[in-house]
Symmetry: C2
Subunit: 214 residues, 2 copies
């Protein structure tokens, strides 16, 4: 059975993964202090890394393994809100977004799809989490679906019990405010088996596996 | 710069990775107690795993990332010694060996190459570690070369300082005897930066990165 998986979700000690104000200068909305703890060079594997391979890289590199589609929130796609501007915005990632699969962007303002030569395509849908997952699973053709964030999107999928696996990275910093993936999810841990591993960098990697549903 | 990498090298607490007597029934030569601690289902990634994804899987799944060729010792290829028998032996792995790249087998008895439809090819060469690495690097076309073991082969490459990265898995069992990767390598740790991480299963994953050569 294909799964829905969350990867590389960085969370501060006080529970925040992003700030509230996403702008062109602050894509993490004010939670930019999390960024140095992540190494995006290895999301497709540790081959070619020009310096040392660390334990954190092993965890980060699971991101693309066996993934056939992604779902992301609109705030991950860009800083816009409301009606789309006619400004040619096609995401933060230039001509070669790293997703390499169909990618569904949740928005109340659907627009035309965008296709890239590297296999990435962006599809803008106004759908519930369950309906979005159904469409992404169909597009994934038997592979897993990544719930790509941000934290509000992961929160919505967790509320509806639509996540099978999460790789959470607890980062040893305090942000003070921001968007929390945990909001309103008291007792969530009861639905998962959780393994925690701390590495030499001070990061704690948590692997949350949904316990089998009855 | 492409690297030479060792992955998933399981070692008992007393330092053994294989037994001395490889037969058809005992491919690990008597060190079969190591096998249950390894999960070969994830060497190409955690996608499609039918049960929980654990931290050990993240480490195991680095095996194939960015690899363009492998070098292995003859005892990894099969139980034969001396002149080859005309028995059609083409390895333990059936019609689809997992290597998916050119694979060089060190032997004093060269024989014709074997090619498989999945991209794996076996080439039998009588060469020093340095010469074998040169040939494998050429075949890897810019990707990394995996030094695939067994322990005697890794030992020979370490003696000649030809390893850039090692993922070693310390397994909490005692074997009592066998083949050691460490034989004659007193002080080896001085050439590497070493990170150790222990997971919930009791395995300790060590990442050995060669310190930059002057």
């Amino acid at each position: 059975m294909p799964r829905s998986r969350v990867h590389n979700l960085l969370i501060s000690l006080d529970g925040f993964s992003a700030g509230h104000r996403v702008t062109l200068e602050t894509p993490f909305g004010g939670a930019e202090a999390l960024i140095p703890f992540f190494d995006g060079r290895v999301i497709d594997g540790v081959g070619g890394l020009p310096d040392a391979v660390h334990a954190d890289h092993a965890f980060f590199s699971m991101w693309g393994q066996g993934i056939g589609a992604e779902i992301m929130g609109r705030r991950k796609f860009g800083p816009h809100t409301g009606e789309w501007l006619d400004d040619g915005w096609d995401g933060w990632w230039g001509d070669a977004p790293p997703f390499l699969t169909p990618t569904f962007i949740l928005t109340h303002y659907p627009r035309d799809s965008i296709e890239f030569e590297n296999g990435t395509s962006f599809h803008f849908i106004d759908a519930s989490p369950a309906e979005a997952l159904r469409r992404a699973e169909e597009a994934a053709e038997g592979k897993d679906v990544r719930i790509g964030g941000g934290p509000s999107t992961v929160n919505a999928f967790l509320r509806d019990d639509l996540i099978d696996f999460m790789h959470i990275v607890v980062v040893p910093i305090v942000l003070g405010s921001g968007v929390s993936v945990w909001q309103g999810l008291d007792g969530l841990e009861g639905r998962f088996d959780i393994e925690s591993v701390t590495t030499g960098s001070g990061l704690t990697h948590q692997l949350w596996n949904r316990v089998p549903r009855d």
